[in-house]
Assembly symmetry: C3
């Protein structure tokens, strides 16, 4: 059982999965049903634009919800192609265009998604060996901005998501390919002092070209992180960060089992070099969370930035079940807005009881919306109808959601793998 | 029972109620008794200036608490009339003058107080219909600053406080009188997706001159908000925000009944265009909370700003009973300083066991005090002696407090109305 | 029993205690054992520099943890003497030098440590009389920076730590030696209104040269503060702050007894005039916390600044047991990162189960590390092996830790005194 993470059943990524098509299906299903239901009691309300026509075509209706509009904007604006910017200052056209990019699946289209599952580690006896490089990278925040000179683990920001089981012997070998020194701290783990990754205190800095092996038994269960602890304002701000999850050995104790969740999602924020990001991306390139009506999903918030961010989910509350990996027990609570301070991790379970596309964003508004529409720390939780999901893609229900989530680059479905 | 909010018994606002007189009475009663009690063990302590003489006359004593003063400021300074500013740089004179404005009841003197109860909605069958305009307004932060170009619902910042009962069918019709588009989000409510108010995602923007009807059944009990979700950094920062309270259908489940509170107070902070405000006003125009010794009061903190604010009450702890409308139950706690992040709502019950005038302010000190004295996010909880209150106004106990609170523009007494 | 704090047994401060020697011993013991233990499974890892050779000699090895280094920095850099700054821009040399200053015991070497126990108050009948001056002071943030023009109580920033017992009659006489007015607020205490220390509201400002007596019965148990409440952004920012602890009368109710802690540590942060400080000092002049393996220690976080700080302890979790002096009970929780907002106090118990030197810092990284290494809000929790501690100093176990802690200027061992 100790190595059950070492041989994950790789969820097949169907080559014919169209992210754009998937999301359109999801939205048609979830949103459309809702629109139809409500139409009776809200006559005159135009269904959301994304429920009409193929994505990519001009919005067929920009009329307001009531017939009393004194001014109607020029519907001939091309809100569609990401490359064509509306005129500066045209708030609505810009705001619509950026939402369209999100709904068209920009997150899947941008190369280099971070936070991907590390996958199967090598085994050295009963030690799980994770090999990570520390790299200068060109990183894209979204599809239109120029890539930035950033740092990554194994070439991505965030680095690979590492999942282990309580009691696993872990060896994480970091090779420094930067032209500066560094050191890696496993934030939240109880481990031997000389494995703590604080250069000049518990070890020498890792020189350019050199490697360092962090070796410890994974004792501290829950949601943790690994990141630079050397010139860290700069190095973490440029991307040297990743998720480290320790699942309880007893499956019955795992959060994902306790709450019967179908998805296990890591959500890392940062707010320095790349602006306001979730898993290394800013809206509209942030990945949507896609779930099925009736599902419960687990979101592990992690803050690798320098500011507190209060995450607000529309439509449904969050059940907050763990803090820094420690279950809250009788101190657990429900909320719809959860402030996460730098360095903290909070596990929340969301019961996806409401169909539709729900905004999910930082409620410090300038981190989420500007004069040209939403940007930065915004994504959506899309709750699909169970029937619609299959119809839209022709792929089995569970694997569709998982494949889409993996393609989106922000979600990892490990519940069934562990 | 479903419509018991539709026919509230309007608390009479006595035309002869002098806010200035009321507050003077309150303070004399609460503060004076305390001063007298303590005098025996702190000889030489001058009673607070506001316990002496009619408000508006010069402070009869600015001598220090002990007789060893090496330097005594010029007592001839006119700390009194709001229009007469002491010399720049004279900290104490400026600080005293601004406190005097507060004690003189500036909050009641400034036109256009927001957060007033919406009152009785129209009924369309069993649907409660709330009609709100979205307006450009001239808004006063206090009596001396020039009005600012702001936004309001029904002409005020915050907009009207809306109270409904769990299970109520709600129709909120917003008419956009701005020259820009907008959309309104009921923050915290579980509602149909196309009623969620996120332009370009769940609806088209509401055009200038147009209306939009948000129609839903109020399912999510507790302290919630409504605000712009369109160009929202700007529009919420300029005042498009208000409280939306859903009281449990079962009266025994209502916070105000569970804790036997006599007042139900909404406290919305903002920190953008208008500076640091509570219910749209900065000190000294913030409304005091006025209670009677032995009362319990409910304060519903809501943060519509972009910064966390840690609210600190002097003299008594706060019992924190709900977060974002969800009761904390075994996770409830007591504190005297409560950080409220943007988008969060926290319900606290205060047991008014200590008589006197207690400062109640944000403990990020630059949000509350500058080189010319207190400003911004400061108010006071005035706990009166039961006997004094009646004497000071000649009006019955309960109605006095309520009338004063309503006049102050910051408190709403709906406990007995519901 | 009421006066058991009035006659504390003064822990002897051995004159021969070498802070440098003590810390070297501690580190050799804790860190060295760990290094030896782990060496078997992490071959090639260089022991931390501070486990080798006398402190003050050049680091014998700056080779990286593996033999694949492509570039090795010039090991002839003098990382040692605090007075000799490495070349600007040489990050590692600067970062190492500042850590060395910390390990050499800079906190004990800098004059004027604040937060020292007030000691035995005078008695006037059964009233405990505390006499405090309010002074302009020259304050050192660390050994190398020029002293700053600050404010202090009894000449220090923070002022003396005051400990009383629930029910004690307290008279705190503050004499204002500044050339400006002031007023002192006992933050968190329930006391008579005219003792609340809000100038112009509950009292007149204390004039230069004058005194004011705050007289009250200590009713509110737990971790509280006293600080200026007059021109407070400025005056608290310059140092007018201190800890006020009210221990429950029933010893069985005291946090230190309930959790069997061996140390009772006050940790006050500030972030204005002096930059990012813990108990008035910035790294490397912050005092380390020194404990023995198996000990439990109590840390009372208090935030006197204007920003939230999320405190992160490496290696072990914190058990959060009280907030603003109120025990959390069933709402208590464990975490490794704890956000503390301005004005809040949080009591945490740390079970020192992991030997070594563990970083303990604010996780807003720019508050803790810059381009020239760590600074500001950083210290360490040093967990020693029980045997090593004695060997390093020749003094008995318990008193060694206490004396060292007292010498360091940041910890107060009152558990056995009360």
């Amino acid at each position: 059982m100790i190595n059950d993470l070492a041989t994950p059943a790789s969820p097949a990524l169907p080559t014919d999965l169209s992210r754009r098509g998937f999301l359109r299906g999801a939205v048609l299903a979830g949103g459309g049903v809702v629109a139809a239901t409500v139409a009776a009691c809200a006559p005159g309300v135009t269904p959301p634009p994304w429920t009409l026509g193929p994505i990519g075509e001009p919005n067929p209706s920009s009329a307001s919800g009531a017939s009393t509009a004194a001014a109607t904007p020029d519907a001939s604006h091309d809100h569609g192609s990401p490359g064509a910017s509306p005129a500066a200052g045209d708030h609505d056209a810009n705001a619509a265009a950026v939402v369209k990019r999100f709904l068209d699946g920009e997150s899947a289209a941008v190369e280099g998604a971070g936070n991907q599952p590390y996958g199967q580690p090598k085994l050295d006896g009963d030690t799980k060996v994770f090999e990570l490089t520390i790299d200068p990278i060109k990183h894209r925040i979204d599809a239109l901005k120029d890539p930035i000179d950033a740092l990554g683990f194994n070439g991505t920001w965030p680095g690979p998501r590492i999942d282990v089981i309580e009691g696993d012997k872990v060896r994480a070998i970091f090779t420094n390919r930067l032209d500066e020194t560094t050191g890696i701290h496993f934030h939240g783990q109880q481990l031997p002092n000389n494995m703590d990754g604080v250069p000049h205190v518990t070890q020498d800095p890792i020189q350019p070209g050199a490697s360092f092996s962090y070796e410890f038994t994974a004792r501290t269960t829950g949601s943790h992180m690994y990141h630079s602890h050397h010139n860290a304002t700069d190095q973490v701000g440029r991307g040297l960060l990743g998720a480290f999850i320790v699942h309880p050995r007893d499956p019955a104790q795992r959060v994902e089992r306790k709450y019967d969740v179908t998805q296990d999602i890591v959500w890392i924020s940062n707010d320095s070099l790349g602006g306001f990001t979730i898993n290394g991306r800013g809206f509209p390139a942030t990945a949507p969370l896609v779930a099925t009506l009736g599902d419960k999903i687990l979101v592990r918030f992690m803050n690798e930035g320098v500011m507190m961010h209060p995450w607000h989910l529309h439509g449904m509350p969050m059940h907050v079940v763990a803090r820094d990996g420690y279950e809250l027990g009788s101190a657990s609570f429900r909320c719809d807005t959860l402030g996460v301070n730098p360095g903290e991790r909070w596990d929340v379970v969301i019961d996806c009881t409401e169909p539709g596309a729900w905004a999910f964003h930082c409620h410090i508004l300038p981190h989420a919306e500007g004069r040209d529409g939403m940007y930065g720390m915004v994504t959506a939780l899309v709750v699909q109808q169970p029937t619609a999901k299959t119809a839209s893609t022709g792929i089995g229900t569970a694997s569709t959601v998982r494949a889409a989530a993996l393609a989106a680059g922000s979600t990892a479905l490990l519940c069934r793998v562990l």
